[in-house]
Subunit: 89 residues, 4 copies
């Protein structure tokens, strides 16, 4: 169910990106193209946050409540990694 929502959003973004490609093909104004690219990035950020939310409420809970310490550490480390990366993109 959650996947459906994520998929729908990603396909909307794909459509948006195709629109940007058409804009460039038709020589649209540069700044307008940049603004549309920034809108796509904002939408991607929202999808990422949504996916992370689902991940926290499933895999992360399972791993943290589980008995495998190594697995727990791995799962928590990944959260820090995507958080750190999200500031860079």
């Amino acid at each position: 169910m959650e996947n459906d929502n994520t998929l729908r959003r990603l396909k909307t973004i794909e459509g948006h990106l195709r629109g940007i490609i058409r804009m460039v093909e038709e020589d649209a104004y540069c700044i307008e193209v940049i603004r549309q690219i920034q809108a796509v990035e904002a939408a991607l950020n929202k999808v990422s946050a949504q996916i992370l939310e689902g991940h926290l409420n499933s895999c992360v809970i399972t791993a943290v409540q589980g008995t495998n310490k190594k697995e727990r550490e791995r799962v928590l480390k990944e959260i820090t990694e995507v958080f750190e990366m999200s500031a860079k993109v």
Copy 2:
């Protein structure tokens, strides 16, 4: 010519995004999906910078060297706006 390079990059990104949609359809690991989305965002940032560079070296030079003060102000204002937005996406 410059447009060709931008188009090629945008189409590569579109292919990357379609790959991410497939990953979600096939229930790939959430964190891996987030990482791929972040890679797409990094690639979009590069395209934006490339488009801005072309814009600075054409429209901006024309506007700043031109006699229309209002047009010059508009063009410079836009640069600040996309700069400010780029920090938010």
Copy 3:
């Protein structure tokens, strides 16, 4: 102990920021000031990630392993929120 490391980093950043203030007082080149501000932001991102890592390995583990469902949801919701915000700053 972890706090000591965070504090040391934050104090270094404070020193960096004071240096930037001096640069502006002495009329340094604008682009150089912007670059230094961006360096401060990159350093702040690293401290944030470090604080989040400590948080995941303490409070989050406690909350997720605890019996209070509402508290667990709150703690996980916060992670998504700071993740989403980190893309915007």
Copy 4:
């Protein structure tokens, strides 16, 4: 005059950062610290944009209207560089 405004903002941010250091010293809740750091980053982004705006309306206009092509290219190149970096911090 413009410098005064930039300085005032930077000093406000410095005060905010000192407040964050106190929060860490007093063992404040991690997520609250991260939120405050993100607020500082948002404020730094605004100062950067303000500095860039001043730069565009002074140095950039001078360089672009000037006869030194190399200088003009350098000044425009810097804009692209800080734009590209702003997406990463």
